[in-house]
Amino acid sequence: MLTSTATENLPLTETFKPADQAELADVVRRAHASRTPIYPLGGGTSLGFGLVPKSPGWGLSLARLNRIVDYPARDMTITVEAGITMSALAEVLASEGQRLPIDAPHALQATLGGVVATNTSGPRRYGCGTVRDYVIGISAVDGRGMPFKGGGRVVKNVAGYDFCKLLTGSLGTLAVITQVTLKLKPVAEAEAFVACDVPSWDRAEALLAALVNSQTTPAAIELLGGAAWADDAALGPAAPRSIARLAVGLEGTRPEVDWMVEQLTHEWQALDVTKPHVIAVKEQVDGLWQRLTEFPASAFPTSASPLVLKASVLPSKVGEFCRRVLEIDPGSSIQSHAGNGIVLVRLAEFTPADSRRVLISGLQPAAAACGGTAIVLSCANGAEMTRQSIWGGAGADTAMMRSVKQQFDPLDLLNPGRFVYASL
């Protein structure tokens, strides 16, 4: 649970809890006048993400900006302040049979603003997309203390530049997000998983490739490896000699889910999968979604894993990447949103110094060989990490990102030193 230790890796001299956007903008203006760094705070669940900041500054808590501004449920949109927790938001939406299908760990603490700023996603991204597909309006305060907004409250709108996209995943480095308008989806009537054990990484790729042509429309395609998944409550104990489990999440109306369960079972039998395992009991299904959502953060707040990595590779190279990871650290646990080419790795071993080395000379090259990149999601000893080890260094597009940063936060006061761009 959230404890006061959560903000300890931030060099905070003071924390402000403004009551509304106007008060918040005032704090930022004062910070700007005194050149004081600002660290925006949501639920404190992702403070280990990015480089550890070194410049002392003010915490800026969004805790009191947690109101529902407007919920026209029949339009299937909602406007809320950024400090609302994901669980509080989910509860309000559920009362109308609606949802924001973004799987965020620690939903009791994690705030919507934090989820947007960190571009958090989970297993359902295969079927439902990511944060950028749901934010249709955004309000924020830039590094000078100037409030601005983009988008609007309608589901289709191309007026002006898309600040919703610009701020999603910006880690609070361009502006402090204060309010968000979302488009929503109806809750799924029924859910189930079909799962199987996978004997080799080549076999994993064969099954994943077959899913591209499946008649079913999965909400999630999860390839799971390592100790964390060896004896899952819903998946059961792994078969002898299996190296990974493949779990396909299905959502829809009851007839759709029933049909997909049967269809996928047939498709897998035709591919000689010996025992497709159907998980349809609600408690088991809910539990598995929960574990699939919490995996990258389950070490929070005291990290049991020295390092959690997120790689983004070509979907066809997921098996290959997993194989390389287990060669580097046979004790690691892996969760891949395999349909999207996202691979999350909780490493088991390594001292901080070894982590740096293994990232730069092992894991980053492995991701590159699989057509992608790797970044660190959280790290037990972040203070000793470098930009190269956390973010994989600068890309050709980083210079343009820096120009944008310069325009929105010219004094480099918002979350300084944490994100991909080196200090301005």
Partner: protein, 479 residues
């Protein structure tokens, strides 16, 4: 003046792309004087046709060297003057960069050059089980580069989203001639989502030379319904009821009686001409769920006083229905010599209200208005009928248009759902956004386009004019 530097610039451009890649005679350039927004016209000084990314870079560098404004153009089907060469300069026409570079079925993406026509990709993917989802009505002509610039929609955006939801990355020539790749075939590139910022930036942040698009699984089946209503109010209430019931159709389109008459004359589908409104409703997905959704939709339509709900009998009838909808604008020619289409958006529950207001605004100004709408998205396309040779009538049409868009804003909506701001709707930006919002947008543009030579005078009002009345009744309207 540009004129004095022009001969040298043209020589330079010819050296880059060859003589057959440069047009500079006035008679050749009139083709490029406007896009689908024909009220305001201006010829570029030169039109240049690059065939490679390196050509685009060299052209941009020459424009900077000679201090001449430049802008990209695809097929010119845009409707808000996005590729109007305000102040002249060099028009970079991307239609010769028309290669589908890669289709990767396993990793579900395709890579295309900007001049690829939207429907070419659709055709190339036929039979693969996958498609490229954005399908603007102009898809037979419009280019994917243009779709990226305007973040195009289309009838199927209700379920599948607009262009930006399907673009994984872009390669773009920046305003200074440098080349940067944003994103690519893998998801969640690190750092800022500048791909998402460039899509929909109407050519003001960079010139896109390559696009990575996500491919979408073909639905297993469809049910296409035609709901027939005695009043527009009943039809819009039915839309609201369908959305509120948690059903997300692939498409939910409305046509009112005025447009229906023209469409029927053009395509002879058999629409009942006395009906006040029809809804074209399509659900797609797994066969296992479709009949249930269809039945529920029929029930909701009947509860909202539909006269009847018909189902397309077969694929042929479905395609004919869609042809009627997608080519509805072409049929408007049967109703009047000129027309002006608006692109407002309102919250879906405000559809009955806005259509009622459009009707009153039409009466107030003595302008006949017929309606097509991507109704499920709340995106309305009222079509104002007039004769542009009659200046007094034209002026009334412009006033009525402005009042409709003001009403959309008052409903909490927007003045453009998919056509863009371009030059046409610049005057509305200060009504949608505060001075600070616009200042933030200007800063974003400055980061990409510091000298302002790329696509000048688009999308954002100039700082000094913000909030001023900028109506030029004889010039500003979408036709």
């Amino acid at each position: 003046m540009i004129a004095t530097r022009l001969p040298q610039l043209i020589d330079g451009l010819r050296a880059v792309v060859g003589t057959d890649g440069v047009l500079s005679a006035h008679s050749d350039l009139v083709v490029y004087e406007c896009d689908g927004f024909v009220i305001e016209k201006n010829c570029p000084d030169v039109a240049v046709f690059p065939r490679t990314t390196a050509h685009v870079q060299a052209i941009v560098r020459l424009c900077n060297q000679y201090d001449v404004p430049f802008l990209p153009r695809g097929a010119g089907t845009s409707l808000a003057g996005g590729c109007l060469p305000v102040g002249g300069g060099v028009m970079i026409v991307l239609t010769r960069m028309k290669e589908i570079i890669e289709i990767n079925h396993r990793d579900r993406y395709a890579v295309v050059q900007p001049g690829v026509v939207n429907v070419w990709l659709t055709n190339a993917l036929k039979g693969s089980g996958y498609h490229y989802a954005p399908d603007p009505s102009s898809q037979g002509a419009c280019t994917i580069g243009g779709n990226v610039a305007t973040n195009s929609g289309g009838p199927h955006t209700l379920k599948y989203g607009v262009t930006v939801n399907h673009v994984l990355g872009v390669e773009a020539v920046m305003a200074d001639g440098s080349l940067i790749t944003f994103g690519g075939p893998t998801e969640d590139p690190k750092g800022l989502d500048l791909t998402g910022v460039i899509v929909g930036s109407e050519g003001t942040l960079g010139i896109v030379t390559k696009v990575w698009v996500r491919l979408t699984r073909d639905p297993q089946g469809w049910r296409t319904l035609l709901g027939i209503f005695e009043s527009v109010g009943d039809a819009t209430n039915a839309i609201s009821a369908i959305v509120a019931a948690g059903i997300i159709p692939a498409a939910l389109e409305m046509m009112d009686q005025g447009i229906l008459v023209a469409v029927e004359q053009a395509f002879h589908f058999g629409f009942p001409l006395d009906a006040q409104a029809i809804l074209l409703i399509e659900v797609d997905g797994l066969e296992a769920g479709l009949d249930l959704q269809r039945d529920r939709i029929i029930e909701l339509c009947m509860q909202n006083k539909a006269r009847e709900v018909r189902q397309a009998r077969d694929a042929k009838e479905r395609l004919l229905l869609w042809k009627c909808r997608k080519q509805a604008f072409g049929a408007v020619g049967r109703l009047s010599p000129s027309y002006c289409t608006q692109d407002g958006v309102v919250p879906r529950t405000k559809l009955p209200h806005i259509l009622d207001r459009i009707s009153s605004i039409g009466s107030k100004y003595g302008v006949r208005i017929v309606n097509v709408a991507h109704a499920g998205d709340g995106n309305i396309h009222p079509i104002l009928l007039f004769d542009e040779r009659d200046k007094e009538q034209t002026a009334r049409v412009l006033l009525a248009s402005g009042e409709i868009l003001d009403e959309c804003i008052a409903c909490g909506g927007s003045v453009t759902g998919e056509h863009g701001i371009g030059v046409e709707k610049i005057e509305f930006m200060h009504k949608l956004f505060t001075a600070d919002d616009l200042e933030a947008m200007r800063r974003l543009r400055t980061a990409f386009n510091p000298d302002g030579r790329l696509s000048p005078a688009k999308m954002l009002p100039t700082a000094g004019a913000c909030g001023l009345e900028q109506k030029h009744p004889a010039r500003r309207a979408a036709m």
